[in-house]
Symmetry: D2
Subunit: 342 residues, 4 copies
């Protein structure tokens, strides 16, 4: 089986990471690569690390260029995927790495994105309950945001097992590639090196409703999420520190058991041995998720910490994993749990 | 007035930062500098940035060497200050930058440090209610830990004003200098660059009881603190993301007013204009604390974020500020609110 | 004596660093602050580390705004200083931190900058032979480039003493602030962290003729400089590795003696003890220059390595040092040799 | 064909990187993993990024443990390989990633390492003239040092083509992993972040004779190398800036042609298009070498810049590439030219 794949947005960080992974996927043949302002340039000038594709010339992002592939990955700015997707046939597998089709509730979309809701597609986080069934055979996939990936995987087992009160508090640190490749002063190396700073504080970050959606589904009741993202001086990685009050009577052992059970068969979740903590360096470039749980007895809280590579498992790796499921390929084809460290 | 000061532990990061600040203090004359394993070496080989002191030779940390000064700063490993302090006369101002005399409750000390409690000294965080009165004229000062400085300043106004429920959740990122200068594999540059990782999760970090002590005093009731420290890829700085459920009826305006009132006359607290967020880079090398507050309405939580330089306001700057108060000098003598950025 | 100073280009990195230093200068009163696209904004939104000036509003860069000060610092893009300077009276001390008036040879200027030469002003590198005399009492100062500062100080003693062949090879690493605050994709944190890359290779960097000019003057003969700058993953600092073949018979001792002699009375040059090497961290935020010399006997070369803070001694500190000389103030007023480390 | 491989020194950076690569090599089965002080520990506690090997327990480094494999990789401190190697049979392929067997001249070894010379093995830098022939079928391989890899590949074409004078000047920046995983104060994150500093200046670095050996062989005459290594604030990567005077009459075109010819068929050398410069980020985790050449006409010098990943092509990747040749496998088996960026 050969899968011919096109990538829209190949000059950005998500597109570049996807291409890095696709180059190692034995069934994928890389087809058209498109870009917006960089159309006409060779990929080697923009993504010099992708040497085998250095001579590929970027083409404009049009339905014509993207047509004729088995899979089309959309790594476009939020709000731009819908228009492209509807021009692609129903027989094409469209994997949207943007936000357009992640949220089920149109009101949430409109509140956080300020435009009409485009719809809801099967959600590309296979580890969530029921997700694999929805992805199998689908022709449309909404890849989750990087923060919701880290946070939902950290907390859903506690909620699914009824161990946590429905008020989650999340503080996450992200590498700068999560903010994209568009040049903005506050993302300059001079600004971010040696610096930690929060942004989108107070529930206003666009990834918040996605977390609420995922955790609420796991809990079977409404869950609030107080989410504070921070920008960390590193190119990649998300470290999410997630907590909630433990339900009465819940202890460390029960917690550990729930997580061991939830992740027993997950190829990409690395529930660490007790005493070892997640680190973003250990999952650099890999599709693995490191998770550790703790019970803060004095404070009565469950604390779960997860580490992912925001561009890999958090975006492009998750997209590829979901594509594998949709196409009936082994889920880990072309994906690795080995990080590049130090 | 000339104050002759000795520094025990001059080869470490806290001692080095203190010397950097003392060199700019118009009343201080730097006397004996001591060290443990580095005794006998010139300071220039160990702290090459402190050029005016390059030829000073480090001496052993003994009462004899430290005697005969007006002020003795102790930048020693936890548990070693008491033995030195008791050999110094009552007329000497002893400023302990270690943990030995911070906690009021001997049980807390024994639980977290595993040795007999040495006592409790006036607490060197002048911004806390009542702290200045206790510091004025004292001959013994316990300088707070770096995390408790960042967290207590962030949350005490909310507790003092009765706006927050007594269950705080804190996630803080610290630069690596907070872990000291002793060479340990996990602190190697190869390990920390590009990496975020938690440690001391689940209420076991030794700074937790200090936060509980400070916030409880402000609240007038017992406050629990769920504290998760993380190691960030930067040499200096603490960014503390602190939150608690808002008491019923509390809103954004009330919150802002309480913080404006609490910090109206504080020379080192920079309550930022609305819309601007703290960053560790902005306080690099300075004694300033940047603070911003937010009300997460959907989650019903008060979120307060603070940024300090862990070595400056978090250790050596706080020590000097407290010394100034104890000696009756203007509180900001030799201290700056100007950061070194970018 | 009170010196009233205006700063044009106060929103950039050079302007910000100058303001940081001016705030500690006992004779300077900070007057008008101007900017181009940021005019109208409060400085606190752009330079949050300069807390005492947070409420100052940036004004447009016009002769009218800049008039009426004793000193005007110009931190403007190359080629823009001349037009502003000629509108300021002869009685005003104008300190140009741009390139416009550095080069003596109009042909050099035209070759490297592509516009008509504006003229040549006294050169603000006081440590060079004859420089202090030219600066004393002047009303116009051309502050050197950051690379020429590091390289000229490293090599001029060897050339002045006739120890080196007139073909220098220089490879220098610079922190990213040297490239300014304008947002460009290759300067994003995601691009520069974990990365070293050269630029302006092959003698095309605009700082090359300035080095040739300075070293040629010291040598009394024409000196070629093969200069390769590299971008390093740090916000500040220049480490310059400079070498030239030793003249016949020159040895390590002769070399050391020449450097000791050249810098014996220099307040800001830190010729390190043998065996100790310069580091950019040690001069972070300081006006010091660390220098070390070595004789590579097998290769027959003199190697001199210097470290400076590109924004401090390399730009704003050098400007202030030169201003002090021009105004007859003690040369080190408001300047420090103490770095902020770690 | 299944190749059973043992790795001595599996807990260090070189050993870890080798294991990362071996995990992707389709013919290799990973056998015994040994360590010194970490023997008895599970690999997952020391190399958490190598998830598939997390449960492997490290064994002591003895001939008994290492015996019975087809290939034994030695990632041991310099001077320790010889004793181990001589206990392994002649039928075992021994790949030494240390320095012991790199130098041909015993006097060089004794001068730089201070111990008796163990011998000389075929040199694992396949791109050098004649190297592949020597590696084919060999049972002993000396993997080059990381700096000599970067420098020899950068300069040998110029020397082989007779374009450069025999006096090379090299300044190279290395990531901190090149200094290994042993905890030393100057390698702490607090020390290296934001810092550039040289070491081993003046021809004393142990990699110097290896460069001289390689370049002299290419030139057919004795070549001197003035080598200055610097430590850069990044975990991985070497950027080598290499230059030499051009022989009379040599110009840019001739230079470009020589490099195009030298690397035309090299699978891992990426001679960049004109105008594009090497960056260590682009080769992060990859076996590629990025190279660019320039002619500094004014200074009369040839400048060649190369970028490698010091742990990959500079150590473990080069070792694997050489193993492939020795075993008659396709040279690029299990190796990639794709970097992990940003």
């Amino acid at each position: 089986m050969v899968v011919r794949a096109a990538v829209a947005g190949a000059s950005g960080y998500a597109g570049g990471e996807l291409l890095r992974l696709l180059l190692s996927h034995p069934q994928v043949e890389i087809g058209a690569l498109t870009a917006h302002s960089n159309a006409g340039e060779p990929l080697g000038a923009l993504q010099p690390h992708l040497r085998p594709l250095a001579d590929r010339v970027l083409r404009p992002t049009t339905a014509e260029v993207l047509g004729g592939h088995d899979v089309v990955f959309l790594a476009l700015p939020h709000g731009q995927s819908a228009a492209v997707a509807e021009q692609l046939g129903d027989e094409v597998l469209v994997v949207d790495m943007g936000a357009d089709f992640r949220l089920a509730d149109p009101a949430d979309w409109e509140k956080f994105y300020g435009s009409p809701h485009a719809g809801t597609w099967p959600y590309g986080l296979p580890e969530l309950p029921g997700a694999r069934a929805a992805l199998a055979g689908t022709k449309r996939i909404a890849v989750p945001g990087c923060y919701p990936t880290a946070v939902s995987l950290a907390l859903f087992p506690a909620y699914a097992a009824g161990l946590a009160e429905p008020e989650a508090v999340v503080v996450a640190a992200s590498g700068t590639s999560g903010a994209g490749k568009a040049a903005k002063p506050h993302l300059l190396g001079s600004e971010v090196m040696g610096n930690m700073t929060p942004y989108g504080v107070g529930g206003v970050h666009r990834h918040t409703p996605e977390m609420i959606q995922n955790l609420g589904a796991a809990a079977g009741e409404s869950v609030s999420v107080s989410f504070t993202p921070t920008l960390a001086p590193m190119p990649r990685g998300i470290l999410a520190t997630c907590s909630a009050k433990a339900k009465p009577g819940v202890g460390a052992e029960q917690l550990r058991t729930a997580y061991e059970k939830a992740f027993a068969d997950e190829p990409f979740v690395d529930l660490l041995p007790e005493g070892q903590w997640p680190s973003t360096a250990a999952v650099y470039g890999s599709n693995a998720v490191q998770i550790q749980v703790a019970h803060d007895e004095a404070a009565g809280r469950i604390i779960v910490i997860s580490a992912i590579d925001n561009l890999a498992k958090g975006t492009a790796g998750g997209a590829l994993q979901s594509m594998n499921i949709a196409l009936g390929l082994p889920e880990d084809t072309g994906l690795s749990t080995i990080g590049v460290a130090p």
